[in-house]
Amino acid sequence: MQTRFRQLWDLYEVGMTSTTFTIRSAGANVMCAFPFDRSLLDAFKRLVPPSDRRWDDKLKAWWIDPRYIDGVTALAQRYGYIVDRDLTNLDLSGSHVMRAVFRVCYIGGVKDRGNGVQTASGMDDSGKWFYTLPYDVLQEWFGVRADPSLARTLYGVLGAKRTDDADALKRAYRRMARQWHPDVCHERGATEIFQAINDAWATLGDTNKRQMYDFGLELEGETEKQSAPQSLWNPPLRCGDIEADAVQRVGGIQIMKIYGWNDIVNASGQVMVASWTPGATGPTFSWR
């Protein structure tokens, strides 16, 4: 896919003029490029909502959902631009769902993109924000969608489910402890999160305490209905080899359903830990 994007960029660069609005396609992805024009840009953004467009800083172009092709064409014409439109490579049949393992090297926080769309962006191994992970897909994988209260329980701290057996819980604890150890994880609050992970394991790793904790969850559910958390829940993992159903969309890959989430492991058997130090311009990666 990267090669096809490069070809697209070459086509764009050849054809661009100060009055040209260029539209190209590569598979199911559609790219728009135009000279900076504040009023046109504002109109473009009003037409194409944030969830359906993505700025590509390397190509200096916008990826848009194919359903806006005619709309942006008409918009450009209204603003007096020559529309250079070539959709011979458009292939919407290629937007079929593909199942594969995607290496997501860093996952940002879930954000509200407008129009009720909430997603997290994922970075590929070239440092490009290439992946879109919808909030509901992440919630479903971590069990939070079916059980919203899970996010604020000790199970949520470990990225585990209440139905996990002892071995699964132990694996979850080890993974989280490895990912959030303050020696290698520089995310905001990593020290506190690491402590919370250890505290959670101290309770859930003990059979008797776990049963009493589960009893406590049942009691809490009987006595009060807590209001839903006001802030968006963020998944507890920052990277992974994610096996999923996905589609090409808006110049990248949108994850549709997750089937597996494994650590990224190098040839020496070390696990990658990704974190973003507050104030840094990008994530850092460590191997443990």
Binding site: R152, T153, N208, K209, M212, Y213, G216, L219, E222
Partner: protein, 192 residues
């Protein structure tokens, strides 16, 4: 004390949760005592030393227990229904006495915390034999159920609680007045 003037008892699970930032379920996991307190109609009796009702004096003593064991007391009150009381204040239902129900619900705590039943009379629910129903559930416990009798000694109520404790290997204590609850529970838990 009037319970409408006290929202959260110091040392209760809710109070400890506020103080420590831990959740109620996390504190339940650390509880070492489960108090099952009778709040049936007979607890309205004002046979205490200062003329207050058994309800009021039991509240006061429970506050002492929770202050002595902060964050360690899991409190249920029961009458015809049982209620979890994380704020440390028993719920006054003032109806019948269904001990079987709450003992069944509290079985998770069997072997994980000391179970103490505080009551003044024989169970009369579920109909027709609340006493046998309670003993049937108690026999499923693998660890002791301790009992504290409140009221005039020598009656059927005391005899039932004696039987309940002995069937499970628990200790028995008599508190003729609710004012002796706190020392009674502390004595039970300390083996005194």
């Amino acid at each position: 004390m009037q319970d409408n003037q006290l929202v959260v008892v110091p040392g209760s699970l809710a109070h400890t949760a506020q103080a420590t930032g831990k959740s109620i379920p996390e504190l339940v996991a650390e509880c070492s005592i489960v108090v099952i307190l009778d709040q049936s109609g007979s607890m309205i009796e004002t046979d205490t030393e200062d003329g207050r009702s058994r309800f009021d004096v039991a509240d006061e003593n429970l506050a002492k227990i929770q202050a002595a064991y902060p964050g360690k007391v899991l409190l249920f009150s029961f009458s015809s229904h049982y209620v979890f009381c994380p704020n440390g204040i028993p719920h006054r239902e003032g109806a019948g006495t269904n001990l079987a129900n709450v003992l069944e619900f509290a079985r998770t705590a069997d072997g994980r915390a000391e179970i103490v039943v505080i009551s003044d009379g024989e169970p009369n629910e579920p109909y027709p034999d609340g006493e046998e129903a309670a003993l049937r559930v108690a026999r499923q416990y693998k660890h002791p159920i301790h009992t504290i009798f409140i009221g005039k000694p020598g009656g059927d109520g005391e005899r039932f609680l004696d039987k309940l404790a002995s069937k499970t290997g628990g200790r028995r204590f008599v508190a003729p007045t609710p004012g002796e609850l706190a020392p009674g529970i502390i004595a039970l838990l300390s083996g005194g």
